[in-house]
Symmetry: D2
Subunit: 406 residues, 4 copies
C-alpha cells in the first residue's frame, strides 16, 4: 500500500507532491537529506541558463512522485507488488541521489576523488537501515538489483526510469529549453510488466521515441553545453589546486568539512567521511572560492577570480583529438602570459572528450509490449527511426584555456 | 516597413497577433476569408483529440504573425527587404490557405474533385489582385516562387517555413500532444539569408532537429492517426455517394452551394466556382450528413448515421499492401451483412497507403550557416542524427471496413 | 468505487481524462451526447477570441474528471460515499449539460423559447433512467438536490462546483485570457465535508478568493464581452425573425429539426421535442443563416448577411438605462436607413441589461473549515476582501444597432 | 534608440532576453552585478516552495526586458522618448536592485543595519557614473524621480511598474503558485502617457485589477507565508547574535566580508563598505551558519542547528497584538527549557506585525485613460471592485518561538 500522506509539497513542475508519513518523513527531514536543498541539480549550468538553480532535493522529490505514480499504474494493471515492496522501492528512489556532493556531477570525483556518488548513496542507505533495524534491507537489494523482482529496479534505474523522466522534464522547465519537454504522464501510464521485465505498452511508443530524442537534445543543449563544460573544468582545477596547496602545507580559508576533503586525496567510506560529507554543499565551495581570490598563490587566486566573476575559459570543440603539439603550444603561451611554470599550466589548459549516448541497448534496452502480448526491443518495434543513429556514440574533443590567450 | 497595426487579436498560442490596417484588414474581413473561421484546421481530428476544434482562420493569422517576426529578424540582421516586398510576403502568407474548403485536407479532391487547394488560393489572390489594381502581383510571384528573391518564398513555403512552424505548435496546443512542441521563437530568431537562400544560424541546429522529429511524431500521433484516417475515409465515401446519387437524379437535402458541387464531378476555376466555394464550410457538410441519415438510399443513410454517431470504420494497418483476396473477402462479407450489391461495398471498404516524410532533401533542403560563413546542408552539418533515417519514407497500408464485420 | 476505466481521452487542459466502462461509456456514445461535440461551449465567443471553439462535450468530460478527483479527495479524508453514490454523482455530472442546444447559453430561450436547459437535462436523465431500469434514479435526486446527502449535490452544483472549476480553467485556456486561470487542483484537494455540507479547508482560502475574482473578471473579459453580446443579440433576432416568417407561412431553408423549432413558439417536453432536439446543433443554425442571406425578406437577409460576414451590431454600454427617447431615435434612423417599418426595427435595435454576480451568498455560500473544526462563511473567514464588493450586482445597460447608423 | 543587442539570455519565463552591447554589457559583467546570481530573489522562501531558488540576477534581467518592451510600446504610441532617455531608464532599472544583499529583503536592515537597499543602489549607480564619466547622471535623476519627465520614473517605480510586473510573474512561475499569474504582456501593451503621467488604456482595466488582486494573494500565499516569516526571524536572530558575539570579542568563523559586517552595527556608505558588500552573498551566510552549529555559545549553536536542519520556529498569527503577558510566559518557558537567561530568550521569541497593502493610492495611484481622453483614478474608473477593500491595510500579528515548547 502506498504510505499515508503527511504533507503536501508545492512543485512548479507537478503541482503537488505528497510526502508520506512515518520513516520516510523522518528521512526527508534528516540533515543529510535536507542538505540536498543546498545542492544544485545542474552544477554550474545556471551560469548559462540562469533559471536552472533548482536543487537535487526537488529532483529527488519529483522522482519519488513519479515512482509512486508508476507503482499505482502497475497495480491498476494487475501487477502484484506487495506493500513491503512498495515501501522498499520508495526508500530506494528517495535515497538514490543522497550520495551527491556539491554541484552534483560537476565535482564528482573531484571532492571525493575516488568514490562514485552511487557508492555513497548505498552507504547512507546502510546507515538508515541500521538506524531503522533492517527496514531498508529490501530497498538496498532493489537499488543494487539483487532483489528477485527485477522490474522494481528498472522503475528506478534503467533506460526509461523515473529518474530520467523527472530530470528531463524538470531541467527543461528550469532552463527554459523546450527541447526536453517529455510526456512523463503518458509514458508512465503505459508502463507494464511481463516476465519480470518493465515494458511499455505499444500505444506509448511515440512518446518513448520522443523521450530518447529529447534526452539526446538536452545533452547537447544543456548537459554538455560548452560554456557549462568550461566552467566545470575551471572549478575542478580550483579544487585540485586547493588540495595540492593544502596537502603541501599551505593554509586555505575553508569551512572545516571542506578542509577535511582538501587535506587528503584518497578516501574510504567510514563514519568520519560520511559526517563531513553530510554537511558539505555548494555554499561551502562558493564562499571559499571567493576568499581564495586573495590567496598569495597566483594559480588559485587567478582561477578563483576568473570563476567568481564569470570570466570563464574559452573552449574549442572538434571531432578529433587535439594534438599534443596544439596543447603544448597553448600551454607555452599560458606559462608566458601568466608568468607561471609549465607545470602550473595544467591548471589553465584542459583537453578531454565529451560523449553522449541517448540509448545504449547494451546497457539495458527498452521493451515494447504489443497488443498480442509479444514483447520486442524498441529497435525492432519501431518504424520511425533508425535506432542505429541513436545508439551511436557521438564524441567531441575539447580544449579549454584562458580567454586572455585568444 | 511592417504595416501599421490596426487591431489586436487574442491568440492562446502567441498571446497577441496584431492585424495591420489597410488592404490587409479589408481582405481579412472579406466573406471568403471570414469563412475560414468555420473550417477546422484538422478536419475530423477532433473526433480523436476533442480539443482540436481550432480553425484555419486562426492558423492563418498565426502564420501571418510568424512571418512578420521572421521578416523583422532578417531586417535586424541587415538583410535588405523593401517595404513593397514586406507587403507582398504578408499578402502571400495571408492568402496561402484561402483555397481550403470544408474540413481542409480531409475533403481535398473530394468536394472539388480535380483542383488542389493551392490553385484555388492563387485564384483568390488573382481576384484580390484585380480588385486592388495589381497590388498583389508581387505576392503572387512570391507564392509561385517566380520572384527574383527566392528566400522570400522560402519563408512561407519550404522545409522550414512559417506555415509548418505554426501548425506544429498550434496543433500540439489544441490536441494536447506535447510531442509537437517546437521552439518557434528560437528557430525564427536563427533565420538568416546567404546567397538568396534562407538559412539557419548554427546556434539553432538542435532546435531544427527537434522540429524535424516533432513533425514526424505529430504525423503518426495526430495527422495520420488511424481513427482520424478511418473517419476521413467515411466522410469521403459519403460525399462520393451523395455526388453519385445527385448526378443520377436523386434529390439530396443540402445547402445550394453544396448542391452545386455535388451535381458535377469536374471543375474549372471560374467566377461561379469561386462564388459557391466562398460560402462553403464545415457546417454545410455536417448539417447535410445529419439529414442524409434518413435518406431512402441505404448506402448513404447507413454511412451518414455511422458518421454522425461516431461509429467509425475499423481500420487495420500493416507494412505491406492488403492482398486483393483479403479485400475481396471483406467486401463479400459487407455485401452480405448489409444486403447491398458488391459494387456498393466500394463505399464501405477502403484500402490505401499512408506515407510520411519528415525531411525530404529532394524537395528542398535546410541549410545551416556556420560562424565561418560556410553554408552546409543540415544533413552534413549535424552530428546528431542519421538523417538518412529521417528522409526515409515510411509507408503503411490500411484497410477500413465497418466495425460490425469484426 | 470509482468505475473501472475503459478509455483515455486526450484533453489539452488536464492531459488525460479516463472514461469509465459500462453504462457511462454507453451514454457518452449515445447520439444525443455525441451531439455535444458539435455545440460550442461559448456560443459565438470565437468571433472575439478565435481560439474559443471548444465544445460542450469537452467541458462535460472535464467536469466529469474533476468530479472523480473531488470524490477521491473526500474519500481519502474519510468521508463516506458509497459505491452507488459515486456512480450517481458521476451520472448527474455527465448529464448536467445534456439539455444545452445550439450555441449553448447564447440561444437559450430562443430556439426552445420557454424551457431552460436544466429542465431538458432532467428530461434526458429520465430517458436514460427508463432505459437502464431505474439505475439513474439517485442521480436525478442528487441533481435536483432531493437526495439526503446534500454535499453530493454541492460538488456538482454550488458556488464552488466542478462545473465552474472546469469552465473557468478551460475557457481561459482556449480564449488565451489568463485572468481565468484557477488552481483547480488545489481547490479540489481542499474539499471536505462537515455536517453534510461541502466545505473548503482553511489552507485553500486564498485559492477560493482567487477563484471568485477570476470568475468576475472572466465575466467582463469574456462572457459579457460587448462584441460577444452584440453578436448574440444579432443571432437571436435572426432566429426570432425566422420563426415569425415560418409561422406566418413563409418557407425558409433549414434542416427538418430546425424547421420543427421554427414552426412553433411554445414547447412542452415530450418525445417529439427530445427527438428533434437530439439532432440539433450549431451547424444547422450556421448553415441555415448562410442560406437566408438570399431570402426575399429584407430583415432576415440583411441580418443574415451581417452575421455571416461578421459585420456585427455596434454596442454601447452605460451605467443607467437608455431612455425611451434614445431608443426611439435610433429606431427611426434604422427604419429610414433600411427602408423598413418601425415595427421591423425591433430586429435591428436591442436594449437590455447585463449583470454579473461573482458570489451571491443568498444563492448558496462557500464555507471554510478551520483547523479547530469551526466552519465559517467565506465572508467572515477572510481578511482579504470586502466581500460586500464581490456580492454586489454590477449592472450595465446596453444598446445595439447597425454599424451603418454611426 | 534601443541599444543594439549583444547576447541572448535564456529565461524560462519570457523565453529570450536580449542583452545590449556597450556599457550595459560591461555593467552586467561587473563582479558586483554578477554577485546577484548568488542572491536568491525570495530569501528563504525555497524552504516552503522548493522551486523558488531563482536569483535577483534573473529578476533584474526580467525587469530590464519588460522595461524595453514598455518603452517600445510608448514609442509606438507616439510618446516622445529620446535615445538618451531610453538609455537612462534602462540603466536605472538595471541597477535598481544592485543594493540588495544576501537573501534580499529577508536580511535587509540586519546585515547592513541602518541602510536601505535603495540607498546602496544609488551608491553603486554613482560608482558607475563616475567610472563612465557622467553617463549615468540622467539614470540617477530618473531613479530619484528628479528628472523632468516623471513618467519615466513611473515605468520603473510605481504602483504598476516593470519591477512588480516581473516579480509577480516570476515568483509565480518558480513557486508554482498560480495565483500570481499576471498578464504582463497585456498590461504593458496598454501603457500610455498623458500629461507626463503613466496611464493605462481603458482596455487593460481588468488586467490591472487582476494584477492588484494577484499581488495581494501572492503576499499572503508566498511573501508573508508564515513558515517563511518564521525562518526569516530565525536567520535574523542568528545574525544578531553573531554580531553581538563578535562585537564582544568572540571569534566566529566567517568569510572576511561577513566578518566586516558582524564587527560593527552602524554603517555609512563609503568605498570600504561597498567593497565588502560587493562580495557578500547567500553562500557566505549559509556556509557560516553551518559552522556556527558547533560554536560554544549555546544561543548561536542552537539556532544555527535549528536553521540548518529546517527545524523552524513555530509561528502563531492573530488579528490583535500578543499581550506582554503572553510573550513573557513564552519567554519564561524558553529560558527554562533551554537553560538560558531571560535576556537570551530575545533570540528565540519574536513578536511583530505583518502588513500588506495591495494598492495604496496615497503612495501613487494608477490612472486609467478613457477613449474620450479622460484620465481617472482606477478607483473611480472601475465598476468591478470596491477598491476601498484593496486599499485597506491588513495587519496580522505573529509570535514565533521554538517548536519544542509546544
Amino acid at each position: 500500500m502506498i504510505p499515508k500522506n503527511k504533507k503536501i509539497l508545492n512543485d512548479p513542475v507537478y503541482g503537488f507532491i505528497t510526502i508520506p508519513d512515518g520513516i520516510m518523513y523522518e528521512i526527508i527531514h534528516h540533515p543529510c537529506f535536507q542538505r540536498l536543498r543546498r545542492i544544485r541539480q545542474l552544477g554550474m549550468t545556471s551560469l548559462v541558463y540562469p533559471g536552472a538553480t533548482h536543487t537535487r532535493f526537488l529532483h529527488t522529490m519529483g522522482t519519488f512522485h513519479l515512482t509512486m505514480n508508476a507503482i499505482n499504474t502497475l497495480k491498476e494493471k494487475g501487477i502484484e507488488i506487495s506493500e513491503k515492496e512498495v515501501e522498499a522501492v520508495l526508500f530506494a528512489i528517495l535515497l538514490h541521489d543522497i550520495g551527491h556532493g556539491p554541484f552534483s556531477h560537476a565535482l564528482e570525483n573531484t571532492i571525493v576523488t575516488n568514490i562514485e556518488h552511487e557508492s555513497l548513496s548505498v552507504a547512507f542507505m546502510k546507515y538508515f537501515n541500521k538506524r531503522y533495524n533492517g527496514r531498508l534491507s529490501m530497498a538496498i537489494e532493489i537499488f543494487n538489483n539483487t532483489y528477485e523482482k527485477h522490474f522494481l529496479h528498472s522503475i528506478i534505474s534503467s533506460q526509461l526510469d523515473t529518474d530520467r523522466l523527472d530530470y528531463l522534464k524538470r531541467d527543461s522547465f528550469f532552463t527554459g529549453v523546450s527541447e526536453g519537454v517529455v510526456s512523463t504522464d503518458r509514458i508512465i501510464k503505459m508502463f507494464n510488466v511481463r516476465n519480470d521485465e518493465l515494458v511499455v505498452d505499444i500505444k506509448g511508443i511515440y512518446s518513448v521515441e520522443k523521450f530518447l530524442i529529447a534526452r539526446r537534445l538536452m545533452y547537447w543543449q544543456v548537459y554538455l553545453h560548452k560554456t557549462v563544460v568550461a566552467s566545470e573544468m575551471m572549478l575542478r582545477k580550483i579544487i585540485a589546486r586547493a588540495r595540492q596547496l593544502t596537502m603541501s602545507g599551505e593554509t586555505l580559508w575553508a569551512p572545516p568539512a571542506l578542509q577535511y576533503f582538501l587535506s587528503r586525496n584518497a578516501f574510504e567510506i567510514n563514519d568520519t567521511l560520511l559526517d563531513n560529507f553530510s554537511v558539505l554543499d555548494d555554499d561551502d565551495v562558493v564562499a571559499s572560492v571567493k576568499v581564495w581570490q586573495h590567496h598569495h598563490d597566483l594559480v588559485i587566486s587567478k582561477l578563483s577570480t576568473m570563476y567568481t566573476n564569470r570570466q570563464l575559459f574559452k573552449i574549442e570543440l572538434q571531432n578529433k583529438p587535439f594534438t599534443p603539439t596544439e596543447i603544448a603550444t597553448i600551454k607555452d603561451k599560458t606559462a608566458h602570459y601568466f608568468n607561471i611554470s609549465l607545470q602550473e599550466t595544467e591548471y589553465f589548459v584542459v583537453s578531454d572528450i565529451l560523449t553522449n549516448n541517448a540509448y545504449r541497448p547494451d546497457s539495458g534496452k527498452i521493451s515494447i509490449l504489443f497488443k498480442d502480448e509479444r514483447v520486442e526491443d524498441l529497435e525492432n518495434a519501431s518504424d520511425m527511426f533508425d535506432h542505429g543513429a541513436l545508439q551511436q556514440t557521438v564524441k567531441k574533443y575539447f580544449l579549454c584555456y584562458p580567454k586572455e590567450l585568444v
